[in-house]
Symmetry: C3
Subunit: 345 residues, 3 copies
């Protein structure tokens, strides 16, 4: 049997570490494609001279291009047989990544729990992205529902890792040698609003909408080298149609958030996130954000803790949200809690 075997729930052992294939050099070509698939307009990733004037080596790659590239490398080992990607936590973007750098990914199984039905289980995994010097650029936890090969195989001892709901502001990695105070042209960046202009409780309708068609989400998914069959084969999932890869929805929602959060130039951490409902080709996505918290980080910048709520086929002017029982309206597809870096005035 020379084919890379699919891993089923039984194949994961607590503490197992996996170095994933294939490390991959990201280029200006990948960045261009990411831009054209998402429409992202954040100035730091858009303009090399702007980034350099702030002190960056050059413009960094979009954070979710990095995230999805690392995630994509882990799929063949972790989630080829995933039924659903359940959630994210404790993510930190540790170092900016630039075109020309090569990313590899390693994962550790940090939790296992069979479902009550006994035909599948939840796998908790921490994945690290590394650059070619072996430096960590990204780390995050995700948990995923994976089928069992045989429903009758015995359940492993359940181990659910204790997850911190929010990354501490003290753990956020700030870009060194960068000074947002010297030069930050808000006419170029697209909004006069800086960190001091946002208040906890602010709700922001991102107004714009974006559609996703079959060729677009499949091209994005292959850009990330994510080979999970549910994204390509209409018969592979339970929907009779292809499921849009959740990480690409993150990318699209982030791009939409430019309108209202144009100066949120970098993602610093993923506190937690959930894909609430599936997205399919033809859906229009809209998004709104809520400011959950804010922390000054340095004189020149601060962190905003933001919730990015994404809906399909309905505008977000009235801020659709879960009800008091925690139940989401049908058309909410993503609830994502993260820390963003924003310059101060």
């Amino acid at each position: 049997m020379k084919t890379h075997g699919d891993n089923f729930f039984e194949d994961f052992q607590l503490g197992r570490k996996i170095a994933h294939a294939s490390p991959r050099t990201l280029t200006e070509g990948d960045a261009a494609l990411y831009g054209a698939l998402t429409g992202s307009r954040f100035i730091l990733q858009a303009s090399a001279p702007f980034a350099r004037r702030l002190g960056y080596h050059t413009r960094p790659l979009d954070d979710f291009l990095v995230f999805n590239t690392v995630f994509g490398q882990s799929v063949a080992d972790i989630s080829l047989n995933a039924v659903a990607n359940l959630g994210y936590a404790e993510g930190r973007f540790v170092k900016p990544v630039h075109a020309g750098e090569t990313l590899s990914a390693i994962s550790e199984i940090i939790g296992l729990r069979e479902t009550s039905r006994g035909d599948s289980g939840v796998v908790y995994v921490r994945t690290d992205g590394l650059n070619e010097r072996g430096e960590q650029v990204l780390t995050y936890i995700r948990w995923v529902l994976v089928k069992k090969r045989d429903a009758k195989s015995p359940a492993p001892v359940a181990h659910v890792p204790e997850l911190v709901g929010t990354v501490s502001a003290d753990d956020l990695a700030l870009p060194h040698h960068v000074d947002f105070g010297v030069f930050f042209d808000t006419a170029q960046s697209g909004s006069p609003l800086l960190w001091d202009d946002y208040a906890i409780g602010d709700r922001i309708d991102h107004n714009d909408g974006v559609a996703v068609e079959e060729a677009e989400h499949m091209t994005a998914t292959r850009l990330y080298r994510n080979t999970a069959r549910v994204h390509f084969d209409p018969q592979a999932g339970g929907f009779g149609k292809r499921l849009v890869y959740g990480g690409h929805i993150l990318s699209l929602a982030r791009a939409l958030s430019f309108n209202g959060l144009a100066n949120a130039v970098q993602i610093l951490a993923i506190n937690n996130g959930r894909h609430v409902a599936p997205v399919f080709a033809g859906d229009m996505l809209f998004a709104w954000s809520e400011v959950l918290d804010k922390k000054p980080l340095r004189k020149d910048c601060g962190a905003l803790r933001l919730r990015l709520i994404t809906a399909k086929n309905r505008a977000c002017g009235n801020f659709p949200d879960k009800d008091v029982h925690g139940k989401y309206p049908d058309n909410i597809v993503l609830d994502f809690d993260y820390w963003a870096l924003m310059p101060r005035g």
Copy 2:
């Protein structure tokens, strides 16, 4: 209200200047994507050694990639609420742009005229594209029909700028340090026909056809960072389906014109242009050209004034055109008058 507000007709004042977000570094990645979305085969943009042998720094980016990138930056401020992009005039490509350069865009409102129905108005705007050294690389006028926020708001004093119908050949910007006479291999360029071989009145059927599907035109529109909702949301325009962005039709028509005008290596000026009818996903585009004028520019090159007529879902072997009353056949979608640079024999 933290969201970037849509501008309606009432929001434009004559003489107002707008610096657009986000300046953007164009790369070999953007060029590759442009090539794959349009199929453009012009030698000067295709082959770096060819361009360098002529005296170019390296191959320049496609002129309509530059045009659409500058145009795209202006959309969020000018035409997010556009009903239709009515026309272009007085466009000049001033300097070649190469991969690695960063383009920004500024616009000035140069005319306003409320429509007779009173629910919208025409905005005339001159937009300049600048490189990172602040040098003008492109300038053009367009006019666009924009909705009023409130049909009852008073009409501004009408001011319609006087538009020159044709850019004077004396105003065309030629590439310095370039000599087409030393080396111009017509086997490589795809046609033996040079400037001297074309005569005023020549009509050229470009023969090839190209289709455009949803994912393609939306990817192109995002490549240009054009966020106008009519191109993404089937409900946003009056058609019940997505409108293909006009600038991408320009790009596709230009690429089709290779077959018959392979040596028209650069666009020098836009005399005037009109999108005559909308294009939707699934349409096949065909094009033909008419030589309107020709001017020798230097010993090694001349300018051809060309009309590029583009049709959907019908071939152009019989040169479909407007009738004596100026009425176009239903399937004509673009009538575009421009100056192109062509080497001499």
Copy 3:
């Protein structure tokens, strides 16, 4: 008549040589797009540091990106009016190609044979791809069924070239200055299986599947600058829908073969190949391989002769194949026999 005339069967003469337009500089942008359209994960093309550690200048471009780029340049002259691309033979990948290099293509007509119906003929052509220094990087023969302009025009003297069914292992071009023995990290490359682990007769189900939609195959076809109308115009072929370009199916099948042949890092030769049935948008592709032969080449690497069989809309776990009469099951679309380079343990 200024348009590039379509060549019909009558227009080809035995021995005629054609230098094709337009030579084209391939970039990291083209490589990124190729990756996103195919999902290819072979380590040598994915990771620049990995390639450099082996002794390569940097990571080479995917072999079928090179093949399809050269093929695409030949289409306007050879196969714009092709009814079908019948087969390949005697292909050799002579030199690796890297981003930044410029490829041109020349062809020679090496055979002609009118079909028995008399309305078309088979054209045999050898095409060479050259880099900007004029060095051959690729050579292959293909034969293609081309319509006659006039069914009544006289048949040329039939000349069918004698084709070698298999490229001799002695003629395979190995990468100089490369040593697979010093460093070849099979955790990174995606499989522990090296040349010595494969035996003649091995059959490998590649397990994964990939879909192809309209926008994807048309974007790929334009990436290759292949302008044959059957790939764009649903009315141009005999199918009432667009035919997916065969070279892109090669690319997709090669990418699928990663799962099971991850260490087959380079294609060395094309022995022979046939597109057995057409592929259309919406089809899911699956593939399996058979090891036909194996030859040690050096201490550090060997060649595997592989048959890559590709099916649409059916998985390949039971290795669907032609029957004893040479007849293929309906859903087989490609039967491709090639030599691949694989490191030794």
